[in-house]
């Protein structure tokens, strides 16, 4: 049962092959059995899950099921879930029980999903390896010495290990796609504004976007149907009709123009990963796509730009964690300043502090123009690169990450090399474009991800291209040994 996709499980539930309660029990047992090894969940909610499962069974019986009714689901612990701890991977929020549901959470709830629990993540989504979590590192199911990627590492590992058929993730600089690549699953970052950010704890507001993490593109389409849409509580969400993403999965790829940015295939890319990407491009040619070499000349500026914009925004987004109203408060503060300093000093981990400091610096008077304003200008140049490219092509393809999963601890002492693992994913966030990572092979038994970047609001085209690739390949069906 656990090897089935969301689409298959949905059909099974509606055909009465099994009940949601049975399905939920099966996944809860798998979590119980395997998560001691993986550490992909911060909180498991078995009682709630079984309660929701029996409600879903009733709904299925009443013929009122959506494609997601009764499907077990795990939320990245960045989404506020009413009555359930929402830690954001931080000691700061270890005691925080959210009083409300994020819009994404309530939308999925009304679609009828069953909440298995909350998945592990880098602290406040700041990290590319899941090693910054207060709740410990997540292991990659393909090799438990390897990182799962980050920041949605718990979601990626849990889906890869079949502890849940689907999980939510968020992507600020690659946090859905990079772990999806490193764990061999499918992860979609939608267009900025497509999915509500309300209730998604902010890291960098102008970059953050929630999306589905699944095994297949077909599943991602089903989940995105329920996640996407305008939310009047999020001023940056976009009031634009949501197409039925499942309806466009088989649109022909004949004549589709795929651009390969030469900057994504330079010396920074692991050559074996490059070979796997080349092979997947050939599959697209067989499917009728036309391959064009393109240039995104400002690609090299994406990582430095991101590391000004994201820390600047996070440095103020995280000011609300002050020990006053909720979250960690230090013991017996001497005065207000002591309360702030010790609560924040104790509550935040090193990477979070590093980014708050970088961002505070970038926004400081005297430095603002040189850093923040400059970064905003470069951000426009990067968007322009894409705009020009999409005048000639329909999709961009390339590697999701420069290498396969690295070992736990390998990059801990070198933040810059860690930051470079998002070198191919960051630009899509800076430009606000949708992008997907899909499994495209293995190098030394660790998964390789192929990234497709689409034009604004062209999630349907991305999902169609990903789905048809998955019809002619089986990388997404590989199952990590031992899980």
């Amino acid at each position: 049962m656990h090897d089935k996709t969301v689409a298959q499980l949905g059909a099974g539930l509606r055909n009465g092959e099994f009940s949601s309660v049975e399905l939920t029990r099966a996944f809860l047992e798998r979590i119980e059995k395997h998560d001691k090894t993986l550490n992909s969940f911060i909180t498991v909610t078995p009682e709630l899950a079984l309660e929701q499962a029996s409600a879903a069974d009733a709904r299925i019986k009443a013929n009122e099921a959506t494609p997601l009714t009764g499907i077990p689901f795990a939320h990245k612990d960045i989404f506020c879930t009413q009555g359930i701890r929402t830690s954001c991977g931080s000691k700061m929020l270890d005691n925080f029980i959210s009083p409300y549901d994020a819009t994404v959470v309530s939308q999925l709830k009304s679609a009828g999903i069953v909440t298995l629990g909350k998945t592990n993540m880098d602290e406040f989504a700041m990290g590319s390896s899941n090693e910054t979590s207060y709740y410990g590192t997540v292991k990659n199911p393909w090799d438990t010495n390897a990182v799962p990627g980050g920041s949605s590492g718990g979601s990626a590992a849990a889906v890869a290990a079949r502890l849940t058929p689907v999980a939510s993730g968020t992507d600020t600089g690659g946090s859905i796609r990079q772990p999806a690549a490193l764990c061999g699953i499918t992860g979609l970052k939608p267009t900025y504004g497509r999915v509500s950010r309300y209730g998604m704890i902010a890291f960098a507001s102008s970059l953050d976007q929630g999306g589905p993490m699944t095994r297949t593109a077909e599943d991602a389409a089903i989940v995105l149907n329920a996640m996407a849409g305008f939310d009047e509580r999020d001023s940056t969400s976009i009031d634009k009709p949501v197409p039925d993403y499942s309806a466009h999965l088989n649109d022909s790829l004949e004549g589709l123009k795929i651009g390969l940015p030469k900057e994504y295939f330079d010396e920074g890319l692991d050559s074996a990963v490059g070979d796997a990407i080349d092979a997947s491009i050939k599959e697209y040619q067989k499917l009728g796509a036309e391959i064009v070499e393109i240039s995104l000349p400002n690609t090299h500026l994406a990582v430095p730009t991101y590391y000004v914009v994201a820390p600047a925004e996070c440095s103020t987004n995280l000011s609300r964690f002050d020990g006053v109203r909720y979250g960690h408060r230090c013991d017996s503060p001497k005065n207000l300043e002591d309360l702030y300093k010790r609560s924040r000093g104790e509550g935040f981990g090193d990477e979070v502090k590093r980014r708050i400091m970088m961002g505070t610096y970038a926004l400081s008077s005297g430095y603002y123009d040189a850093y923040y304003l400059k970064a905003q200008k470069i951000r426009r140049l990067i968007s322009d690169d894409f705009r020009k490219a999409f005048e000639k092509i329909d999709l961009i393809a390339g590697p999701t990450a420069p290498s396969v999963a690295f070992n736990i601890g390998e990059k801990n002492e070198d933040p810059v090399s860690m930051y470079l693992s998002d070198i191919y994913t960051i630009a899509a966030n800076l430009a606000g474009l949708p992008a997907i990572s899909i499994p495209a092979g293995f190098v030394t038994d660790r998964p390789v991800g192929l990234q497709l970047i689409g034009n604004y609001f062209e999630e349907a085209r991305l999902l169609g291209a990903a789905h048809q690739y998955q019809q002619v390949t089986d990388w997404h069906n590989h199952h990590p040994e031992g899980f």
């Binding site: 989404f79 506020c80 929402t86 954001c88 929020l93 925080f96 959210s98 009083p99 409300y100 994020a102 950010r197 309300y198 209730g199 998604m200 704890i201 902010a202 960098a204 507001s205 102008s206 009047e232 509580r233 999020d234 001023s235 940056t236 600047a312 925004e313 440095s315 103020t316 995280l318 000011s319 609300r320 964690f321 002050d322 006053v324 109203r325 909720y326 207000l336 702030y340 505070t360 926004l363 400081s364 008077s365 603002y368 923040y372």
Partner: protein
């Protein structure tokens, strides 16, 4: 040396929206602590601000009323600092691109001339909550009911040269925002307050001196006193050869002194940057025109109309248009009096306002309605009662004894206009006072007043004074 003060004001007007500027929580004053603070106001993780369009409309209304440039695109920015009553650790405000740009308004000076005061800008922002230091046994309580209340911060040019000018400007803005119905102007509740920037320079010098900012002045009286005390303080420093520090000061109204709060060196770096959670506010010229059309008649327009169509003096018109409520009241009095506008102006600015002031009552709570006052004025105009008797009638109306006609009837206050009746009384007085009559007739004109007094006394003030005058003259000059 002769010194000149340079004053600029930053006025915070709380906008009279029903809900907060970035959340749906109510803005009513005086409810139990933290009962009007939703997840957004509490700065919960994950919450996002959504701009209240009504606040934008009100800001534009203000801007169009002072002939200001309205920005087609304005941007909300985060002002970052830590304080327990600032839940997000930043205040959402506007910095580089405010919604209202340069505008101006005219104030009247004591000598009757007027002076134009520039408004640099006005921007939208959210208010913080309140820290309560009493009643918590050494701890501080935080009430976030006020957090997120919309404010319009109105920044003036440094155009004022005395505390009186500053107060006149503040009163003018106060009147305007109430005319526009964008702020209730309640200063006790903090709905309208200001910070004053004050510097001194030798008279004739062009360059500004170093300024000190006095925070949170919440009454016209405090503004005047705080500015004057600050002027004295700065002059003392300068005359002793010292220099004024650029700093923020607090006014202590109990001690009538200002004291330092923080120096320039201790000033915060607020790290302003555009709030990525909010889109820029974009307004087309059609949007602005649409709002401009909703403007009521403004004080200066009303004043002009009062002088032109009611024939009032500029002074009276100025007094009567100083608040919308007073102007409306006056206009209703005029209507009920049968267009006796001058008499109405005299009564409203005279006895009526004096009575309100004496009793400490707002015009909206006046025990005398505009209809009753107008009705009484009509009776003065048609000679039913004299102006003197009217004072009695007014008092009775004030005390709730009914309208003028009822009171005149009940108390028999109707004026005696029957000439023969008055003549009979005059004849009797002349007969009873032969000595005075003789003296008057032999040239002691002053005694005319004596005969008027006697006549009025005999008629209990009810005789028509004009008739009394002419009849007396006729009889005495025989």
């Amino acid at each position: 040396m002769e010194w000149e003060v340079v004053i600029g004001l930053e006025i915070h007007a709380q906008l009279a929206t029903k809900s907060k500027i970035f959340s749906g929580a109510a803005t009513a004053y005086g409810t139990a602590p933290n009962t009007q603070a939703c997840a957004v106001d509490l700065g919960m993780p994950g919450v996002l601000p959504v701009l209240n369009k009504e606040a934008v409309r009100m800001a534009v209304k203000f801007g169009t009323a002072i002939d200001a440039h309205i920005a087609p695109r304005s941007v909300f920015a985060r002002k970052n600092y830590f304080y327990p009553d600032l839940p997000k650790g930043y205040q959402i405000s506007q910095f580089e691109l405010p919604i209202v740009g340069a505008g101006h308004l005219d104030i009247e000076l004591e000598d009757g001339s007027s002076k134009r005061i520039g408004v640099t800008r006005a921007h939208l922002e959210e208010d913080a909550g309140k820290s309560l230091h009493e009643d918590f046994h050494g701890l501080t309580g935080v009430d976030l009911n006020r957090a997120g209340t919309p404010l319009l911060e109105i920044v003036s040019e440094p155009d004022m040269r005395s505390a009186k000018e500053a107060v006149a400007y503040m009163k003018k803005i106060h009147s305007l925002v109430r005319y526009l119905e964008i702020c209730d102007g309640n200063m006790q509740e903090g709905s309208f307050r200001c910070d004053a920037n004050i510097s001194m320079r030798p008279k004739g010098q062009k360059e500004f001196g170093t300024r000190a900012e006095i925070k949170n002045l919440n009454s016209f009286r405090f503004v005047e006193r705080a500015i004057n005390i600050e002027i004295e303080r700065q002059i003392d420093i300068l005359e002793e050869g010292g220099t004024v520090n650029q700093e923020t000061r607090l006014y202590d109204s109990a001690k009538n002194e200002t004291r330092s709060m923080r120096s320039k060196e201790e000033a915060f770096d607020y790290r302003y940057f555009p709030d990525p959670d909010l889109l820029p506010v974009e307004l087309t010229s059609e949007d602005i025109e649409e709002i401009r059309k909703t403007l009521p008649e403004l004080p200066h327009q009303k004043k002009e109309r009062f002088t032109n169509s009611f024939g009032l003096t500029a002074y009276d018109a100025g007094v009567l248009t100083s608040s919308r409520e007073l102007a409306d009241f006056f206009e209703n009095v005029v209507i009920s009096s049968g267009n006796e506008s001058k008499l109405a102006a005299n009564w409203v600015t005279g006895d009526f306002m004096a009575a309100l002031n004496k009793a400490g009552i707002e015009i909206t709570k006046s025990p005398v309605s505009a209809e009753h006052l107008g009705g009484m004025i009509q009776r003065i105009a048609d000679n039913t009662i004299s102006g003197k008797i009217a004072k009695q009638v007014f008092e009775a109306i004030w005390n709730g004894e009914g309208d003028a006609d009822t009171i005149i009837e009940k108390k028999g206050l109707k004026q005696i206009t029957d000439s023969s009746a008055i003549e009979a009384i005059i004849d009797e007085i002349i007969a009873n006072n032969p000595a005075q009559t003789e003296q008057y007739r032999s040239g002691k004109d002053k005694l005319f007043g004596f005969f008027v007094g006697q006549t009025m006394k005999a008629t209990q003030g009810k005789a028509n004074p004009a008739q009394v005058n002419s009849l007396l003259k006729k009889k005495l000059n025989k």
